[in-house]
Each structure stands twice: as structure tokens, then as C-alpha cells.
Symmetry: C2
Subunit: 424 residues, 2 copies
């Protein structure tokens, strides 16, 4: 087989040629390669690359992509150096993949036929698709409950609590928690899956997948130019979300500031709450429109609050209806309105999911809830407590997983993700 050619090719190169369209692409691709990256197709492609460097990690205020693959890993070694080495390898892989490049020197067409390719190959020919990869650390990375792990004594943030049990929770441990969470979001699911798969492969022997989830439709508006998407209840979701360009709200409710933490390594970071919320789809689908709208507190078609106006009109919780407030006091909108919770807000960035059907023929589908908050003790727990106790929507929901993760700040080129924790 010595006669086989082994071109080292880049996803960017292939993509450029694909962009040109049609058959006989090889010649075009070679031409682009010869002329370098200033050619238009390569420049065009940069439009769907999200920089993975910066003050904060990408994938938080990034305009929410349409697909997600999120995974909770457990670290299976107690060797700190091995863990740090993996984080460095992950960072290099993330830097490559978010630019639409293959992982490693050889990529999918690895130079040596006697070694596994350094990239698994299924994203070859696809664009970067706005891929972002965001990592966070669970409480169990810091402590096994009795003693510290990985020499991280004194590094556990006070805010990285064990989330309490909420009324009605049916949390499955094997779908929850984990030492490290990795959220990959992209506009092409194959790109998101490719990212998680290659990180898992790099981590073999160091980490082990504890749980994972595919999300197929974002459920939040995160930038002012995005339309508010609909969740599987058929309602617009995330109307009142913090937007990426609202720096003041982000500083107040999302980013950990210098004075706001006992852990300097978390400055510029945030906390991720991740919960798999199964919807009782069949029950919901047989509820009358009136019931659905009273549960949500909004009009299904437009997203406007029941007190009137249009989608972004502030709800008037005091407006009288024929039978109590027109926005029922136990509706989702009323229950979670910032006015009831000292003005706290979350940056929500969840995804719809469908995992087929259960043994009873019901759709196993719902919302994979993800929120980024400055402190779950003030910005999540009180809201979830109120909701689980009184929210009319809760009847149609079943929380099947739960996780809280400390998301470290972003990095500059040359640093590795988590460096602030391990080298502070």
C-alpha cells in the first residue's frame, strides 16, 4: 500500500472547495491551497468561527447555536499532573476544532498508517458551524466529601454548593453532577458531537463519561437579533432573558466579580446550572389552550403576557381578571418574575431534547435547562424552590437530572482551560 497518497488536508480547505459547489472540486481546492488563506472562500468561512479566547469562555454570551452536546465526565485518575496534561491537550483540540480544523498534527488522515488518526474524521468537510466548547468543574472535582482531590485544598468556592433536593425532583444520580462538564454548541450537530467525541478520546484513561445529552433546538433568545424560539410546550421561551449586549446585567447577574467570590481564580467566571426537565408531553397536549396559557402566563401565539401588549411588554401582575389576577399568581411568569426575587435574573441558554420514547410509548422529551448565574444560592435556588412548591407548570414537568458547575474564566492564547484554578 506504499503507493497510497496520504494528503494532510484541513477542514477549512475542503470547506472552501465545497463552497465553490459542484463536482470537480479537487482542482479548486488545490488552487486555494496554493494561494493561501487570503482567497475569498477562506475569508468567508471565518464568519462561522467563534474565537475560543477571551476574558470569558465562549458558549455563554455567544449567540445561542441551534444544537448542543453536553457531557459530564468523572476523573478516573488521582494524578494531578495527568489531569492538567489532559486539560492542555483539550485546550489545543478546542482551539483547532473551533476554527474548523482537525485535531492533532495529522488529523483524520494521520501521517502514520500504523497509528489511529489524531482526529476521528466525521467533521471533515463541515464548517466550524459556530462551535463553542465551555468547561466547568463540579464540586466533586475538589473534594470526595472527606478530603481534597488533586491538591485543590482551599480552592473550592463557597458558591459551588450541593444543590438541594427540590419538591418533586426525580433526579437520577447517573444523569447528574460529575467532576467536569463540557458543553459543545454548534449550528451543526455533527460538529458538536465530533467535538465531544474527540475530547472523550483524548481523555481516555483520565476521564470517563458519566452522562451526556444531545439538544436539538435552543430555547432561549440570547442576542437582540435572535427571534425568541419555542420550547416543546409550543410557547416562546426566554423572552425575559439577559441579552449578550447587556453588559450591566451580565456583570450583575452572570460574571463573578472581584469582590463577589472567596476564590480569585473564579473572577471572570460564572456558574452553570444544568437540569434535564422532562415534559409530560402527552398530558400537556391534551390540556385546553386556556389552561396552557394560564400555566405559562403568556399568550401562546405571540408570547405577550396575559396582561396585554406584545411579547416584550412587561407583565402586569396586578391587573385584575375575572377571577383573581389576569396573570394567575401560580403561573410561570408570575412565579419567576424578577420582582418576586429581589430583581435577580439568569442567563438562560437551554435546549430542547427528545430521547425517543419510554417503555410506555410516551415521548421522552423536554428541556435541557442550562443557566449561567453569578451565584446559584441567590440566583437559582430561591427561584427553583418557589417554582417547585407552587408553579402550576410543575405539574407538567419532571426534573430528572441536576448539576452545578464552576465555569472558570476565559483564557488567552498559550494558556489552558482551568489554568487559573491549577496554577493560582
Amino acid at each position: 500500500m506504499a503507493e497510497k497518497s496520504s494528503p494532510v488536508f484541513s477542514r477549512r480547505l475542503l470547506l472552501s472547495s465545497a463552497g465553490a459547489g459542484g463536482a470537480g472540486l479537487a482542482v479548486g481546492a488545490l488552487a486555494h491551497a496554493a494561494f493561501g488563506s487570503q482567497l475569498e472562500p477562506a475569508a468567508k468561512k471565518v464568519a462561522d468561527v467563534v474565537d475560543c479566547h477571551g476574558q470569558h469562555q465562549a458558549g455563554i454570551t455567544t449567540a445561542a447555536q441551534d444544537r448542543m452536546h453536553i457531557v459530564g465526565f468523572d476523573v478516573v485518575t488521582e494524578d494531578r499532573a495527568k489531569l492538567v496534561a489532559m486539560l492542555k491537550e483539550w485546550t489545543a483540540a478546542i482551539e483547532a476544532m473551533t476554527q474548523g480544523k482537525e485535531v492533532g498534527e495529522g488529523g483524520a488522515a494521520s501521517g502514520s498508517y500504523d497509528a489511529p488518526p489524531t482526529d476521528t474524521g466525521e467533521a471533515v468537510g463541515l464548517s466550524a458551524a459556530n462551535l463553542t466548547v465551555t468547561i466547568g468543574f463540579g464540586r466533586s472535582l475538589f473534594t470526595d466529601g472527606k478530603k481534597s482531590r488533586f491538591g485543590l485544598e482551599g480552592k473550592l468556592p463557597e458558591a459551588l454548593i450541593e444543590l438541594p433536593h427540590f419538591s418533586g425532583d426525580m433526579v437520577e444520580e447517573e444523569r447528574s453532577h460529575g467532576d467536569i462538564v463540557v458543553q459543545a454548541c454548534a449550528n451543526d450537530p455533527q460538529v458538536a458531537v465530533h467535538a465531544i467525541r474527540n475530547l472523550s478520546r483524548i481523555g481516555f484513561g483520565t476521564v470517563r463519561v458519566r452522562w451526556s445529552q444531545i439538544g436539538f433546538g435552543r430555547t432561549s433568545k440570547t442576542t437582540s437579533d435572535q427571534q425568541t424560539p419555542r420550547n416543546l410546550f409550543g410557547f416562546k421561551d426566554g423572552t425575559a432573558n439577559i441579552l449578550a449586549d447587556d453588559a450591566e446585567a451580565l456583570d450583575k447577574h452572570v460574571w463573578v466579580g472581584e469582590g463577589a467570590t472567596d476564590q480569585p481564580w473564579m473572577v471572570g467566571g460564572t456558574y452553570m446550572v444544568a437540569r434535564r426537565i422532562r415534559m409530560q408531553i402527552e398530558v400537556w397536549d391534551r390540556a385546553a389552550l386556556r389552561e396552557q396559557e394560564n400555566v405559562v402566563g403568556r399568550i401562546k401565539s405571540t408570547g405577550a403576557p396575559l396582561s396585554g401588549g406584545e411579547e416584550f411588554t412587561a407583565p402586569d401582575l396586578a391587573m385584575a381578571g375575572s377571577n383573581g389576577p389576569i396573570i394567575p399568581a401560580d403561573s410561570h411568569v408570575a412565579m419567576l418574575h424578577p420582582s418576586k426575587h429581589n430583581g435577580v435574573q439568569m442567563l438562560r441558554r437551554g435546549f430542547n431534547y427528545t430521547d425517543g420514547s419510554d417503555g410506555l410509548g410516551r415521548l421522552d422529551a423536554g428541556l435541557f435547562f442550562i443557566a449561567f448565574v453569578v451565584d446559584a444560592r441567590t440566583h437559582f435556588v430561591p427561584l427553583q424552590k418557589a417554582m417547585s412548591a407552587n408553579d402550576a407548570m410543575n405539574e407538567y414537568l419532571r426534573h430528572t437530572s441536576s448539576g452545578l458547575y464552576a465555569v472558570p474564566p476565559g483564557i488567552t492564547q498559550g494558556q489552558y482551560l482551568g489554568q487559573q484554578l491549577f496554577e493560582s
Copy 2:
């Protein structure tokens, strides 16, 4: 709540306004509504509508979309009239949804607040996204093994066999078979999921979901202008597929012709083979490139056969290598080459899937294999037998489900899907 407005709105209308981009869309949307459908945005949208009427069902030779939701239903009634009524309701819903419209008179914003909306609403604002819905009938619809069901005596096609057990099969019954299969494909997963969900909802009391599967990346090239996609082995898949414009091959290998069946109602139909094939991802990812290419029989980067040329060059199974044929005799290409099987070909239209991870932390991912063939006895069983016995790839695969379905021909407006069976 009498003051609430209840606009009956169409997905098409909302989409037109979304296409215009930016805020303040309501005015634009109303303008489009006022001026009717000749306006450009509405015309533009027709581009992603696939007609559900025709000689054959859509979703077979339709350019493969990027996402799929497929479900196997069991019929829970023995009342033929009820089943036929559901097929009629399904047909009306499919006609609406494939045009980007909501299901039913009222849609998601149903006229009556005291009834459940006739559409579940999560696709409002999304385009038709090339939605196709394809239905097929399993052997168990015709007979319970002892006697006929639904008065379908004499209507069971000989070709609708029970698929045999293949060497190495690990088929899970609860993921397999079913009385009716419904394949929804679209370029937006939320549109595909919405279709299946609304059909399930219509079918409540008549059918029950037996299994379902989400696919997120097509694995076959089905039209000459599509690039060959990559499967989760990282290889191009479907290079040798029958293309939608190859009428001769379709007539020979896919469509049931007048002389080719004992059942006149199947003329213009085809048979769908559906099998969930889990890939041993972690094992594959640690195999050397040489091993991977020898297993497939093609070069990973380009898709060219190991005997040389480019992707679409015919493989030379006789060309000598250093150790036997350069394309190993047990490679996937050699094993399934039409020359080994009397020239038979399949129309493959499968999808990648990832269902999270299993209890051992391994990715539960692979290929949801779908093929359309004129007769599984000649066009699938012999190939699968050869593959399961000798194909080197089999070591990396685990077949976890199996199903064969008679896909009736297409319909014209006014007919219902399956009418040829029930009214012949």
C-alpha cells in the same frame, strides 16, 4: 379573559417576516398578509417545501435532509374504521405540515380556549424545512401470526417477510418492528419532531409509539449535487448509492413494478429496511488508520477505493497488494460490491445517531440504517448475510434493531396514505 386576541396565524406568514430580518417585524408580516402570497418572501419559502403528493411517497428519492425522526407505532385498536379514519387525519396533517402550515383549523392558537390547540405549536415561526413524511406497514399490521387483522386477508405481500436473524445480531424487540413506521425528515430537527409528535397526538387511542429514533446527520448522497457525507467512522458513506435521477436503477432496484408483486396495491411502492447499528466508537477510534482503511476498503480522506483513483472510481477488486488484493476481500467495499450480489443495489438513506452514553461511559452512537429496495429477499437479506458472516467491519458494529416495512405508493390530493391497501 375575553379581551385576549386570538389571531389564527400561519407558520408561512411568520416565516416570511422572519426572513425579512431584525426587529419590528409585525408590520412587515401584516403587509405580506395584506398583499397575499405573490410577494417575494412567500415565494422564497416555497423553495423549502417538498410536495407530499405524487406517484411515489416523498422522503425516498427526495434529496436526503439533514435530520430525521422515525417512529414505529403499534395499532392498539382492532377497529378497521378507526384505523382508516386516523390515516385520513394523518394525511391531512402531513399535507399541512409539509407546506409549513399548522395542523388543524385553529392551529397552535386554536379558536376555542376550552379545547387543546389542534397544533402543538413548537414549529410556529419555522419554515417547512423540506419536511417529508413517509409511512410504511409492518407485517404485524396484516397478521398476528395466526389470523388476519383489519380485514387484510390476502393483502400481505409475499415480500413482506420476517427478516431472519443475522449472525451477531443483538436485536432488541422493543426497538424493532411495529405495525406502522413513520419517517419524518427535515432540515430542522424541531420540524421533524413536531411532525412525529402531532401524528402521535392525532393517533392517541389508535396507535401507540413502540420505538423512535432521532437521526442528526444524513449518511448518504442521494442526489448528484449532494456531497457525500461522513458517517461516525469518519468515512464518506453512500458513495455508490443509487441517485434520485437514475430512473433506470430506481425502476430496477427500488420501485415495485406491476410484474414484480403479488399485490397490486404495492405497485409504485417500495420496501424500507430500518436497522439501528451501534458503532463500537471507542474501539474504532483506537484502531490504526491502516486497519480502518482496510476494513472499509477506501481511503479515509478522499473516499477513493484502495485500488486508486478518486471517490467515484470503480473499485478494482482484483488489483494485487503486498499481501493479497489491495482491497481486502473482507473489506466492506469488497463484501457488498454489486458484482458479488447479481448486480443488486439499494437506495440507502440512513442517518447518524447519538443517544448519549451507555452505563459504561461509552458513546451510544452509530448509524440508523435505512434502505429502500424493491424486494428485501433479493436486495437486502443476501447482502446482510454476507456482511454479518465475513465483513471485517462487523467487528465494530452491533445491530440493535431491525424492521421491514411495505411502503405504499404515493397519493394524489383527495386520497389518503395507505388508501391503495384499504380500498383495493
